[in-house]
C-alpha cells in the first residue's frame, strides 16, 4: 500500500516539476478517498535536485473484510479478501493500482497542461515498492520489468520471519526500478498493469471493459512484451464462472478453516492444471481407450465410473450407444459440477440424458445405488485413498456392488524414473497417498480377486518400457461365481441345497401353504 516515485533534476529543469507532472503540489499533503481507504500523496523530499512523491493508501482492514464477506466468504474475487487477517493493508496489490490510477489519472494518460513537453519526454526515474507481492518470485519480477526500458531492476526478497529463518522467504519482494529512458506515464501504466499481475489477484471482478483498460494501459509496451501472454492471462483471469465455483465449495472452506488448513489442502479433487480436455495428455487418452476396450470386450452395457472426476471417461462412454446406462460417482461435489458442465447435462436431450447420471458417493461406504451394474471403472482412484482405508473400498466395490467386471487403473511407480519432470521419489500428483510397482499392484489385485471371487488379468497402458513397464497399469477383474436364480422356497440347508422343498405343484395355495403364510 506504499510506493514512491522519485526524479532528479537541475536548476534549469528542477526535479520538483514532478509535482506538475503528477498534478500534486509538492508542498502540500493531499488525501483522496478511494473505495478501500484514503490515498495520501506527500513529498518526503522536494528540491531542485531530487524530488520524491509518495503514494500511501490507508486501507481500512475491517471494512475490507466486511466488503469481502458481502460477496460471500471464499467467493470473493481475491482469495486473500476472504481471510479475516490478510496482507491487503500492507502489500502493493490491485488496491494500490486502482488508487494510483485514480489519484494520478491525468499523469497516467501522459497529459500535463503546465509542462506538456516534459510529460512527453523521458525522465530520470526511481520507483520504490517496498512490499510487492510476487507470485512467481523475484525472477518473474525481473522478467516483467526487465524488457521495459529500466536500467536497473533491483529485486530483493523479504524474509517471512527473521525469528524462524527455516521458514524461508515470503512471497513479497522489495522492488527498486531506475532508468532515464521512460516517460512518467509509461512508468505509471506499467505499475497499474503489473502490480495486480504479480499479485495474481484482483479485488474486483473483471468486467468486459477490462480488456480495453488493459490495451490502453499497455499501449506501446505490452504488444511486444515477451511475457505478454502471462500478463494478459493473469490480468483477465478472474472470471465470474470461477467465482461461482468458489461459492460452491464454501462448506469445504469452513472445514479447512476448522482444521487450520488451506482450502486447497482439502479441496484438491479438481485439478484445473490437469484438465485433460484443455490440454490433452496422451497418457489419459491411452488410458480411456484401454478402459473402453476392456468394457467392450466384457460386453458391459451398464457401467459405473467410480471416481469419475470431471467426467472425461463418462463423456467417452456416452459416444458409444452400447453403453446404455452410465453412472459417474465422485465424492467431490465440485468435480461433479464441473463434469455436469462438461457434459452439458442441462441441455442434453431426454433420451441421451436418461443414459447418464452423476451422483455424489463415497467408496469407503457401501452404497445400494451401485448394485446391479455390468461393470465398474476405478480409474486412477485407489491411489487417492490412504492404504489403511483401502479395504473399505474393496468391500464396497467387490463385496457389495459386485459388478461382473471391475476395471482398475493406477500409476506404475517404476515408470516414474522415465518422467524427466518428476524429481526422484516424488509422486505424480500431490494427493497420491501411494504409488505401486507392478509387483505390488499384482499382489494386491490377486488378493482382492481371491477374497471376493474374481479372476484378474493385467494390461500395460501407454508405452511399455522393457525395463520399467508402462506408465499406467490396468487390472481387469471378472467375477468367477455363477449366478443362480434361487427360489426362496427351496430348502437351503446349512450346507447344501439338495432338497427342493416346494410342496405345491399348482399355482393355487394349498391349505397347508396358507396356514404357513398366516404363521409367517
Amino acid at each position: 500500500m506504499f510506493l514512491t516515485i522519485s526524479t532528479t533534476g537541475t536548476p534549469e529543469r528542477p526535479a520538483t516539476d514532478l509535482g506538475f507532472l503528477l498534478h500534486k503540489h509538492p508542498e502540500r499533503a493531499q488525501a483522496f478517498p478511494t473505495s478501500h481507504g484514503i490515498a495520501h500523496v506527500l513529498y518526503p523530499e522536494a528540491t531542485a535536485e531530487r524530488c520524491t512523491a509518495a503514494l500511501l493508501l490507508e486501507v481500512d482492514p475491517v471494512a475490507l473484510v466486511r466488503r469481502g464477506k458481502g460477496k460471500g466468504r471464499g467467493g470473493a474475487p481475491d482469495a486473500a479478501l476472504a481471510q479475516y487477517v490478510n496482507d491487503r493493508p500492507y502489500a502493493a496489490s490491485s488496491l494500490l493500482a486502482v488508487a494510483l490510477a485514480q489519484v494520478f489519472k491525468t499523469a497516467l494518460h501522459g497529459a500535463c497542461r503546465a509542462l506538456p513537453e516534459r510529460a512527453a519526454a523521458p525522465l530520470p526515474l526511481r520507483i520504490e515498492v517496498p512490499v510487492l507481492p510476487a507470485r512467481g518470485g523475484a525472477e518473474l519480477v525481473r522478467e516483467l520489468f526487465g524488457p521495459l526500458g529500466w536500467t536497473t531492476v533491483d529485486v530483493a526478497p523479504v524474509a517471512l520471519d527473521a525469528q524462524f529463518p527455516e521458514w524461508g522467504d515470503s512471497r513479497y519482494v522489495s522492488l527498486v526500478l531506475e532508468g532515464g529512458g521512460l516517460r512518467l506515464a509509461d512508468a505509471l501504466n506499467q505499475l497499474y498493469v503489473l502490480l495486480p499481475v504479480l499479485d495474481d489477484a484482483k479485488h474486483y471482478w473483471v468486467a468486459p471493459d477490462e480488456v480495453e483498460k488493459l490495451l490502453r494501459a499497455g499501449e506501446g509496451w505490452l504488444a511486444s512484451h515477451p511475457r505478454r501472454e502471462l500478463i494478459t492471462t493473469r490480468y483477465l483471469a478472474r472470471r465470474r464462472s470461477l467465482a461461482r465455483e468458489a461459492s460452491e465449495r464454501l462448506e469445504l472452506v469452513r472445514l479447512a478453516e476448522a482444521e487450520g488448513l488451506d482450502v486447497e489442502d482439502v479441496d484438491n479433487a479438481v485439478d484445473e492444471a490437469r484438465d485433460t480436455e484443455e490440454r490433452p495428455v496422451p497418457l489419459a487418452v491411452h488410458r480411456r481407450e484401454a478402459i473402453l476396450s476392456a468394457l467392450r470386450s466384457a460386453g458391459a452395457a451398464r457401467v459405473l465410473d467410480l471416481g469419475c472426476g470431471q467426467g472425461q471417461l463418462v463423456q467417452e462412454l456416452l459416444k458409444d450407444v452400447r453403453f446404455t446406462r452410465i453412472v459417474g460417482v465422485d465424492v467431490s461435489v465440485r468435480a461433479l459440477t464441473v463434469a455436469a458442465r462438461r457434459l452439458r447435462l442441462e441441455r442434453m436431450g431426454e433420451r441421451q440424458a436418461s443414459r447418464v447420471e452423476l451422483v455424489q458417493g463415497s467408496l469407503t461406504y457401501t452404497d445400494k445405488r451401485l448394485g446391479g451394474y455390468d461393470a465398474a471403472v476405478l480409474s486412477e482412484v485407489i491411489e487417492h485413498l490412504d492404504l489403511p482405508r483401502l479395504p473399505a473400498l474393496e468391500y464396497a466395490v467387490f463385496g457389495s456392488a459386485r459388478p461382473r467386471t471391475v476395471v482398475v487403473t493406477t500409476p506404475n511407480v517404476e515408470y516414474n524414473a522415465r518422467w524427466d519432470s518428476l524429481p526422484a521419489g516424488h509422486v505424480r500428483h500431490h494427493d497420491h497417498r501411494f504409488e505401486w510397482s507392478r509387483a505390488e499392484f499384482r499382489k494386491w489385485a490377486a488378493e482382492v480377486a481371491e477374497r471376493y471371487g474374481y479372476a484378474v488379468e493385467f494390461t500395460p497402458v501407454g508405452p511399455d518400457d522393457p525395463e520399467v513397464g508402462a506408465p499406467t497399469q490396468m487390472g481387469v477383474f471378472t467375477r468367477t461365481g455363477t449366478d443362480t436364480d434361487t427360489d426362496t422356497d427351496t430348502d437351503t440347508d446349512t450346507h447344501t441345497n439338495t432338497d427342493t422343498g416346494t410342496d405345491t405343484a399348482t399355482a393355487t395355495a394349498t391349505e397347508d401353504e396358507k396356514k404357513k403364510e398366516d404363521r409367517a
Binding site: 518526503p44 520524491t52 479475516y84 490478510n86 500492507y90 513479497y172 482444521e259 457401501t366 468391500y395 403364510e517
Partner: protein, 854 residues
C-alpha cells in the same frame, strides 16, 4: 352413498368378520351396494382409500370414468405407502373385475400383508334405489348395476384362489347391518409379552447340553421360578443324539406356557417327512427319523401338530425384540407372507454360488439398521458377536462347540460346552457370522443427504444436505478409520462480547452468563494454543482388535476433522505409547476398569500442524507489515520534517499501525517453536471422554483434572503438559475478581486465554436444555491473530463488538449434544453406524456458515 334402508329391531344375529390387524381389506361390490357406508361404519376414515376420492383428486369429478386409470395409480400409490408403513388399509372401489383385484393382491404381497376380501352383494333393487337417491349418479345407465353384479358373481367363487386369505360375503342388507368387524392380532405379534426371556440357540438333538443350559439359566424341570420365558430359535432336531428328548422338553415347556418356539429349517423338513412327503434323509434327518421311529405313533402325531403350529418369527417386548431362526430384515418384522416365512427359516442368499457350488448367504445383518434387536441362529459360528443390533446364537453345539443363550433384557450371554463332537461338520465352521466384523462396513445411507440425528440431551439435530456432502468428502478422503473415530470435538462459543474498554472478550461476561444460567461454580482452564487432538489409546494391540476390530494400530490420534494428526503411523504410535505408559503408571486402567481410553486435548506447538497456514497467512502478514512500515513512516516523517503541514494525524496513525503490526507478529510467534521428532511436542489433555462401557463426558471437571494431573505426573517423557486452572464462584464478587485477575495475568504473559466451564460438566438450565459446556475468553493479544493486527483500535473495536453469537452458541450446543450422543452410544455398545452417525453429524455441522472468528 345414502344410508342403507335399515330394518329396525332386526332379528339377524350378529356376524363377526375377523380381520387381521395389519392387512389389506378389499371391499367388493356393485355400485350402490353400500361399500362406502360399510367402510365408514367399521373403519377409521383415514384407513379407507376410495377410488371415487382418487378420481376427484386427479379429475375434479368423482364420477369421471375417463380418469379411472390415473385415479387407480394414485390409489395404489397411497395404499402402497400405507402398507409400507404397516397400517391397516381398506380399499373402497367396486373391485368386481378380476384384474382390479389381482393388482391389489399383488400390492398386499409386495408389502407382505394378507389380502382380505369383504364382498357386499345385496339384491339389484337395493343398489338401484340407492343410486337413484344420489344426484350425481342419477344419470347412470341402467345396465351398469346388472353388469357389475354379473362380473361379481362370475368371480365370487374364485376369490380365495386369487389369493384372498379371508373372504367374507354379505348377501343382504340385513347381513350387512349385523356384521361386526373384529381385528385380530397377527400370530407373530407378541409385543404384549415382556418376558424376561432366555433366547436359546440351535440345539440339534443335544438333549444333555440343553438340560445343562436350562439348569444354568435357572430352569427347574422346564419352568423358571422367577417366571422367565424360554424362546427357542429353532433347529431343535437332526444330527444329534436325542432329538425326541429335545422335542419332548421343548413341547412340554411351550404347552405349559413356559416357552416360545420358532421353527428352524430342520423342523420344517421334519414336518414334511411326518406328513408323508418325500424328502431326502440328509443333514442328520436320518438320525432323527431313526430316533422317532422308536417312539409311539402318538408322539409322532404330537410332534407333527407342534411343528405345524409353529410361527416363523415373533415380535416381543413392545417391539424391541425379534426372534427367528435365520435372521430377518426390518421390513419383514411382524409381516405375514410366504416370503417372510421363507426368510425367517432359511435366510437370504445373494443369488451367487460359491466355490463348492453352494448358495452364498446374503450379509443381511451388515445392512440391518432396525430398532428391534434380532436374535437368531442357523449359521454355526465359533463365537457370538453383535452386529448392528443382531446376534446369532448358533455356536455349533452338535459339532462340538457350545450351546448359547441370551438373557433378555439383560443382554447377557450364557453358554455351555458340548459334551463331545456329536456330528462332524461337512466343512469347517465359518469364522464369522454373515457380515464379518462388528458393524463393518458403514453404508452411505447412514450419513448421506438430509438427516436427523436423535440425541438424548437435545432431541433431534438436523443435518442439511450440503453440509453432509462436504463432510462426506472430508471424511472419505482424509479421516482415520471410522472404527477408531469415536468423537470429534464440538466447536466452542466465545464469551458474550466485552464492554470493558480495549477488550473484545473479558471474563466478567462469561461469569455473569453462567450465573444467569444458574451455574454457581465454574472452572477456568488455561486455553492452550496448538491444534486440537483426540487420542484413542488402547492398552495394547489386542485390546484394539477386540474392542475396535482393527488389526495393527493401538489407537488413533486425530485432528478436529478426523484426520490423522501425523502422516506417519509410527509417530502416532510413539505418542500413543507415551500416553499408554502414563495411563498405566497412574493406575487409570484399573481405576476406570478399561483397556482403552479416549482423550481430548491440545497438541502443541501450533506450528506443528498448521505450519502451512502460518506461513501463507499469518507470517506473510507479519512480513508485509514489517517491511512496509519503516518505509512509509520514514516518508511521512521526512515530509513533516521539511515543514509540510497537515501530516500530524497521518504520522501518528502510521506509527500506531506499525506498533499493532509488530504486536501481531509477536502474538503468533509465541505459539511457534521448532520440533524434532517428538522433541518439543507437547500434549495437554483436558478431558477423559470415555472408557469401557462408560462415557466420562459428564464427570465433573475437578475429578477430570485430578485424573489428568496424575497422567502428567506419571509421564516421564515431558510430552504431557498440565492445564492450569482456578475455580470461581459466579455469585461471589471476590471470587469473580480473582478469576479475572488470573486471566489478566495469564494472557498478560502471552497465554491464549481460558475456557470457562461449569464445574459439574453436564449441567442443564431451567428448561432442561444443556447449558453451554464451556465458553472461551481469549486474550487481548491473542485475538490479533483472529481479528487482525489493528482490531484493538477504538473505531475497529466498536464495529467488531457488533458480532452476533446466537448461531455460534446454537451450533456449539448442537455439536456438543452430538458428541455426547456418540460417546454414549459407544459406551452402550451400540453398532458402529450409530456412533458414526453422530460423529459424522458433528463434522457436517462444522461446515455450517458461521463467523470463523468466533
Amino acid at each position: 352413498m345414502s344410508d342403507p334402508t335399515t330394518v329396525a329391531g332386526t332379528t339377524e344375529e350378529r356376524r363377526v368378520l375377523p380381520v387381521t390387524d395389519l392387512s389389506l381389506v378389499v371391499l367388493v361390490g356393485a355400485t350402490g351396494s353400500g361399500k362406502s357406508s360399510f367402510a365408514r361404519r367399521h373403519f377409521k376414515p383415514t384407513e379407507v382409500v376410495s377410488s371415487d376420492f382418487c378420481r376427484g383428486l386427479v379429475a375434479d369429478d368423482e364420477n369421471d370414468q375417463s380418469a379411472s386409470k390415473d385415479a387407480f395409480d394414485v390409489l395404489h400409490y397411497i395404499v402402497g405407502k400405507r402398507l409400507a408403513a404397516g397400517r391397516l388399509t381398506v380399499v373402497d372401489a367396486t373391485n368386481v373385475q378380476r384384474e382390479a383385484r389381482r393388482q391389489l393382491v399383488q400390492l398386499a404381497r409386495e408389502h407382505d400383508v394378507l389380502p382380505i376380501a369383504i364382498v357386499l352383494d345385496p339384491p339389484e333393487s337395493v343398489c338401484r334405489e340407492r343410486n337413484a337417491l344420489r344426484a350425481d349418479r342419477a344419470g347412470m345407465p341402467d345396465h351398469v348395476v346388472p353388469r357389475h353384479r354379473r362380473e361379481l358373481h362370475r368371480g365370487l367363487r374364485g376369490l380365495e384362489r386369487e389369493g384372498f386369505r379371508k373372504v367374507h360375503v354379505l348377501r343382504s342388507v340385513a347381513e350387512t347391518e349385523a356384521a361386526e368387524v373384529r381385528l385380530e392380532r397377527r400370530f407373530n405379534d407378541l409385543r404384549h409379552l415382556t418376558g424376561p426371556f432366555d433366547v436359546i440357540g440351535d440345539i440339534h438333538g443335544c438333549r444333555s447340553e440343553l438340560e445343562t443350559l436350562l439348569g444354568r439359566l435357572g430352569y427347574v424341570d422346564g419352568a423358571h421360578p422367577e417366571g422367565r420365558t424360554a424362546v427357542f430359535v429353532g433347529d431343535l432336531v437332526d444330527r444329534g443324539p436325542d432329538s425326541p428328548g429335545v422335542l419332548r422338553r421343548v413341547m412340554g415347556m411351550v404347552e405349559a406356557g413356559n416357552a416360545l418356539c420358532v421353527p428352524g429349517n430342520h423342523e420344517n423338513k421334519l414336518g414334511r417327512w411326518l406328513k408323508g412327503r418325500k424328502v431326502q434323509l440328509t443333514h442328520g434327518l436320518a438320525e432323527t427319523v431313526e430316533q422317532l421311529e422308536r417312539e409311539p405313533e402318538e408322539f409322532r402325531t404330537r410332534v407333527r401338530e407342534f411343528i405345524d403350529g409353529l410361527v416363523s418369527h415373533y415380535v416381543l417386548d413392545g417391539g424391541k425384540l425379534v426372534v427367528c431362526h435365520a435372521g430377518l430384515p426390518e421390513k419383514y418384522h411382524g409381516r405375514t407372507s410366504g416370503r417372510v416365512r421363507s426368510h425367517a427359516l432359511y435366510g437370504d442368499t445373494t443369488g451367487e454360488t460359491d466355490a463348492f457350488g453352494l448358495p452364498v448367504r446374503y450379509p443381511w445383518a451388515e445392512e440391518y439398521r432396525g430398532r428391534a434387536t434380532v436374535v437368531y441362529g442357523h449359521t454355526p459360528v465359533p463365537t457370538t458377536s453383535w452386529i448392528n443390533n443382531t446376534i446369532c446364537l448358533d455356536t455349533g453345539a452338535v459339532f462340538g462347540g457350545r450351546m448359547t443363550a441370551l438373557r433378555w433384557p439383560e443382554r447377557e450371554l450364557v453358554d455351555v460346552p458340548a459334551e463331545r463332537v456329536w456330528y462332524e461338520p461337512a466343512r469347517p465352521l465359518s469364522s464369522d457370522v454373515p457380515g464379518g466384523h462388528q458393524g463393518r462396513p458403514l453404508d452411505l445411507a447412514d450419513v448421506h443427504g438430509r438427516r436427523t440425528v436423535e440425541t438424548r440431551h437435545l432431541g433431534n439435530v438436523a443435518v442439511r444436505e450440503e453440509n453432509a456432502a462436504a463432510a462426506l468428502e472430508v471424511m472419505s478422503r482424509f479421516a482415520v478409520d471410522p472404527r477408531l473415530l469415536a468423537y470429534l470435538p464440538p466447536t466452542m462459543a466465545p464469551t458474550p462480547t466485552a464492554k470493558a474498554e480495549g477488550f473484545l472478550e473479558h471474563p466478567v461476561e462469561a461469569f455473569a452468563q453462567y450465573r444467569s444460567d444458574g451455574v454457581e461454580r465454574v472452572v477456568c482452564e488455561e486455553k492452550h494454543m496448538g491444534s486440537r487432538a483426540v487420542a484413542l489409546v488402547c492398552r495394547d494391540a489386542d485390546a484394539a482388535r477386540e474392542r475396535f476390530g482393527v488389526d495393527g494400530p493401538t489407537g488413533a490420534l486425530h485432528t478436529r476433522t478426523g484426520r490423522p494428526f501425523f502422516d506417519d503411523g509410527a509417530a502416532t504410535e510413539q505418542v500413543l505409547a507415551r500416553l499408554r505408559t502414563a495411563i498405566g503408571a497412574a493406575g487409570l486402567w484399573e481405576e476406570l476398569d478399561t483397556a482403552w481410553l479416549l482423550l481430548d486435548g491440545e497438541l502443541m506447538p501450533w506450528s506443528l500442524k498448521s505450519g502451512g497456514l502460518l506461513r501463507h497467512q499469518y507470517a506473510a502478514v507479519g512480513a508485509a507489515s514489517g517491511a512496509v512500515f519503516p518505509a512509509a513512516v520514514g516518508a511521512v516523517e521526512a515530509a513533516v520534517a521539511r515543514g509540510v503541514e497537515g501530516l500530524g494525524g497521518l504520522l501518528a496513525a502510521q506509527r500506531d499501525r506499525a506498533a499493532d503490526a509488530a504486536a501481531f507478529t509477536e502474538a503468533y510467534r509465541r505459539y511457534c517453536w521448532p520440533t524434532e521428532g517428538l522433541d518439543g511436542v507437547r500434549f495437554a489433555p483436558f478431558q477423559l471422554l470415555a472408557g469401557r462401557g462408560r462415557s466420562l463426558a459428564g464427570v465433573p471437571h475437578d475429578v477430570q483434572l485430578g485424573w489428568l494431573d496424575r497422567l502428567v505426573e506419571h509421564d516421564p517423557t515431558g510430552l504431557l503438559q498440565v492445564t492450569r486452572r482456578i475455580v470461581v464462584d459466579t455469585g461471589d464478587e471476590a471470587s469473580v475478581r480473582a478469576g479475572t485477575d488470573w486471566w489478566l495475568e495469564l494472557t498478560g504473559a502471552g497465554g491464549e486465554g481460558m475456557v470457562v466451564k461449569p464445574l459439574a460438566a453436564l449441567v442443564e438450565d431451567g428448561a432442561g436444555r444443556p447449558v453451554q459446556p464451556g465458553v472461551k475468553v481469549r486474550g487481548r493479544e491473542y485475538l490479533r491473530i483472529v481479528y487482525g493486527p489493528e482490531y484493538t483500535r477504538p473505531e475497529n473495536l466498536a464495529r467488531l463488538r457488533q458480532r452476533s453469537l446466537g448461531h455460534k452458541r446454537s451450533l456449539a450446543l448442537r455439536e456438543y449434544a452430538l458428541g455426547l450422543e456418540g460417546l454414549e452410544r459407544m459406551a452402550a455398545g451400540e453398532p458402529l453406524w450409530r456412533v458414526h452417525e453422530a460423529v459424522f453429524a458433528v463434522l457436517a455441522l462444522e461446515s455450517e456458515p458461521v463467523d470463523p472468528r468466533l
